[in-house]
């Protein structure tokens, strides 16, 4: 068996291992989030209040600090924070498992020597749609968590704000994959034409 024939089978096995590992890791993370006192962390924006700090330079004079980005963590968890962090873990797990299962199905057809089928074009398109969808969902959950933190905590000498990060990289990657899926679909039609040419 040549390397090109062996590679899809190796990748298929790797995705199967990935599915199993992801499932185990997700369960461990969920148990940790619910039953242990590990710190819940959420991204926030910080602005120290004037007079609580000093920042100066011999060359540039006095300075200010604003819109610093960081993470706040709590050990005593409220039900809402546990629910949000659990939801985030579930979304991560669902995203990873769904993408790995789709990838495994594609590699399975590649191993069988019949990759140019419409079902694979649908799977590639689904991957292209799911990547930005899950990406935005996770960013939304991060924002929701930071909103809960912002409305719950009292900060002394520090102004904190919820942070909404819109990473458009997911969208760009998704668009590229969807475009490739449509090119692949055209390839499947050419394959069907070739198969039905006597």
């Amino acid at each position: 068996m040549s390397t090109t024939e062996r590679l899809p089978k190796v990748l298929q096995r790797l995705t199967e291992v990935g599915i199993a590992v992801t499932a185990v890791v997700a369960v461990v993370f969920l148990l940790t989030a619910v039953f242990t006192d590990s710190a819940l962390q959420t991204p926030m924006e910080f602005t120290p209040e004037e007079g609580t700090y000093s920042l100066s330079s011999e060359t540039w004079g006095s300075g200010t600090i604003g819109d610093a980005v960081g993470v706040v963590g709590f050990t005593d968890k409220s039900a809402s924070l546990v629910a949000l962090s659990t939801a985030k873990i579930l979304v991560y797990a669902a995203a990873s498992l769904t993408l790995l299962v789709l990838l495994r199905s594609i590699l399975k057809t590649l191993s069988a020597g019949t990759p140019f089928v419409d079902a694979n074009a649908d799977r590639i398109r689904a991957i292209g749609i799911l990547i930005p969808a899950f990406g935005f969902l996770i960013q939304g959950l991060d924002w929701a968590t930071s909103l809960v933190v912002m409305n719950t905590v009292t900060a002394e000498g520090l102004h904190i704000e919820a942070r909404l990060t819109l990473n458009l990289t997911y969208l760009f990657i998704g668009l590229v994959i969807v475009a490739l899926a449509e090119a692949f679909r055209h390839g499947t039609h050419l394959q069907t034409d070739a198969d039905l040419t006597v």
Partner: protein
């Protein structure tokens, strides 16, 4: 499809089986079956040449066209 393939009739006239034709022209039975049942989308000139040679016929004996409206996409 409005192109008819008369492989059945020609095989019957020549008292030849599909398996025998398959062996003679070097085309799989599955492909010849696709041709016979109208599933095939295209035929190579080399295939047409081989079929006409073995069945001792002209392309017009093998193929015919009927005026039927094209199927909706």
């Amino acid at each position: 499809m409005s192109i008819g393939v008369h492989l059945d009739r020609l095989l019957l006239d020549r008292k030849m089986t599909l398996t025998e034709l398959s062996n003679r022209v070097g085309i799989t039975q599955a492909n010849l079956s696709n041709l016979k049942t109208g599933k095939a989308r295209a035929m190579r000139f080399t295939t047409l040449d081989a079929l006409c040679r073995e069945l001792q016929c002209q392309p017009g004996d093998l193929l015919s066209h009927t005026n039927t409206p094209p199927p909706p996409n």
